[in-house]
Symmetry: C2
Subunit: 347 residues, 2 copies
């Protein structure tokens, strides 16, 4: 059955059933003019929104509806994590062509539910519309914050720069998906073990936001500034240093780059450092922290969440700018990551 046969009203009733009702803090959910919510007392309200467009942020050629739903929620989870908060309520606007199969819509919401459920996030409202051609998804995520937010502006010269997890998997996955679905795959790819290829593809299609990590780091007085890596390390570090009126040095050899990235990048004849620095969409957390507290911070985070925290450089005075240094300590030019409006490539 196509959405045009179900109609908007039928679609909304279907979404309402799929999403369920009666979640804590939701007095009125999907189906009225506005959601009525009751956030936890004593918290401040967090709100972030992200728009994902077919052929700009994803391609239907390799992103299934469930992937799109998952990712649209995950990128917002990452924003709430990056400020140190707890995600709670999502509003989801979806536009798709009238000829879209209802099964695809169901899969989209199921993907979103899968990304939301581990964090107790519920969909409390939204909008549906026909689109002239492409899929369009906007998610607004509301969250709660206890204590002070971890802002981009709090980094100070002398702070250590650190990232959670590993870098470059999403960009490597994107390169792999583009190559294999364009029919121009390098034969060398067949020699890369399947689990490594799957790892990077999944990192791109179903990124996992660092929600528990963000909350844990958000509660630590050793963390002075935090941002999530959506546009790529180079671009997001640029945001952090710009907002903090500071500079930074990053040591390329310290970047956490997984075996999967090394293997797939080699098969695609791509530079793994470029993928790690300029690739984007890793949804890891980048933070500036007091150096004396760093060993305890990294050990504590790993003990609490299982996620490693890796020092990759330091914050310096603004005059020094932002430099990426090779193993000989020489600055190397790097791309600036994804910049909307400057190109039409998919990210």
């Amino acid at each position: 059955m196509r959405v045009s046969e179900l109609g908007e009203r039928g679609l909304i009733l279907r979404i309402r059933r799929a999403v369920g009702s009666g979640a804590p803090g939701v007095a009125v959910g999907i189906g009225d003019d506005s959601a009525v919510l009751e956030p936890s007392r004593g918290t401040r309200l967090l709100a972030t929104t992200d728009l994902l467009l077919e052929d700009i942020h994803f391609r239907r050629r390799y992103a299934e509806p469930a992937d799109i739903g998952w990712k649209a929620l995950a990128v917002n989870l990452s924003d709430i994590a990056a400020i140190g908060g707890t995600p709670r309520f999502a509003l989801v606007a979806l536009a798709c062509p009238a000829g879209t199969e209802v099964d695809d819509i169901d899969a989209f919401y199921e993907g979103m539910r899968l990304a939301a459920a581990p964090h107790g996030v519920v969909i409390v409202g939204g909008d549906t519309s026909a689109s002239p051609d492409r899929w369009i998804v906007n998610v607004t995520l509301l969250g709660e914050l206890e204590g002070a937010p971890k802002l981009r502006s709090g980094a100070r010269p002398g702070d250590l720069l650190a990232v959670t997890g590993a870098l470059g998997e999403s960009a490597t996955g994107l390169a792999l998906l583009e190559a294999t679905t364009a029919g121009a795959a390098a034969p060398a790819l067949d020699r890369v073990e399947r689990p490594l290829r799957d790892k990077v593809s999944q990192a791109h299609l179903r990124p996992v936001a660092r929600v528990a990590e963000g909350r844990w780091l958000g509660a630590s007085p050793a963390v002075n500034a935090m941002i999530d890596l959506s546009d790529g390390l180079a671009a997001d570090l640029g945001h952090l240093t710009s907002e903090s009126s500071a500079g930074a040095r990053v040591y390329l050899e310290k970047l956490p780059i997984s075996e999967a990235v090394w293997s797939v990048a080699a098969a695609l004849a791509r530079d793994p450092f470029e993928l790690a620095v300029a690739g984007g969409e890793d949804y890891e957390l980048l933070l500036a922290a007091d150096p004396s507290a760093f060993p305890a911070l990294a050990a504590g985070l790993e003990a609490a969440t299982g996620t490693p925290l890796v020092a990759i450089g330091e914050i310096v005075e603004a005059e020094a700018g932002v430099a990426f240094l090779n193993s000989r300590g020489e600055p190397v030019p790097v791309g600036l990551g994804f910049e909307h409006f400057s190109s039409a490539r998919s990210r």
Copy 2:
């Protein structure tokens, strides 16, 4: 200058400057991973979202960027009004082609600011992206609610049905704009006075949400159910009766239809009742109220806000269904208003 020359970072800085900062309740606004907000104590949180797409919800042929910005905010204001709340904070996602003039973006945010300012609503966050072709706007509006929400589900048999303001102006304006910009305008239009033509065009391009009215009605115990008229009286009454498990009778001769609608509809050879019943986008409030309290309710609303409240029918048992009656008391068939996914016409 085009957006592609300014870049995403430059655009965000420009928006941040235009929007301003330091509004009450905004601890962190545009420019970080998430907004940090402090709603008024003792209120519940309202949240609604609306997606507006070029060629589905508006046409660039007659909607200027400032109109698009205004309307994208106004339709969300209307949702908060319809539940009886107070709008506070907006998140705005905008995608447009990379070749868009920066002046157009400025005008878009200025139109939005003009719609927001009278209500003290501030833009606290958002997202920007390149779009492959058309403009795409998503606004999420957060509000506050004291007391109980006015839901769609509270109507009871015996309630009077009433609407604020007048019906059909927006649909008449759309018909006028489509006719005049398609170059196929009826010569009879020239004989309609300019202020009447302007009135319906403006009603379509710059609808005014009934914010003060919604809050006043929201505080009245005589109002049992409320909804805003976005899809058209027939469709939205259908939502109200469906959620209330009730039926309704509407007397066409009681519908408030302005001189502007009569004149322009006649010149376009359109049925003014059809425009008032099935047209959509009036953003008036439709409510079900205790009949004994209605005279005081209407007088009180007009005294408080200057807006008339007109009884147009009554709620009946579900078995009777929803009927629109002519002056002889005979049911007449009416269209169902705008239904996404069933047609590609602009609204």
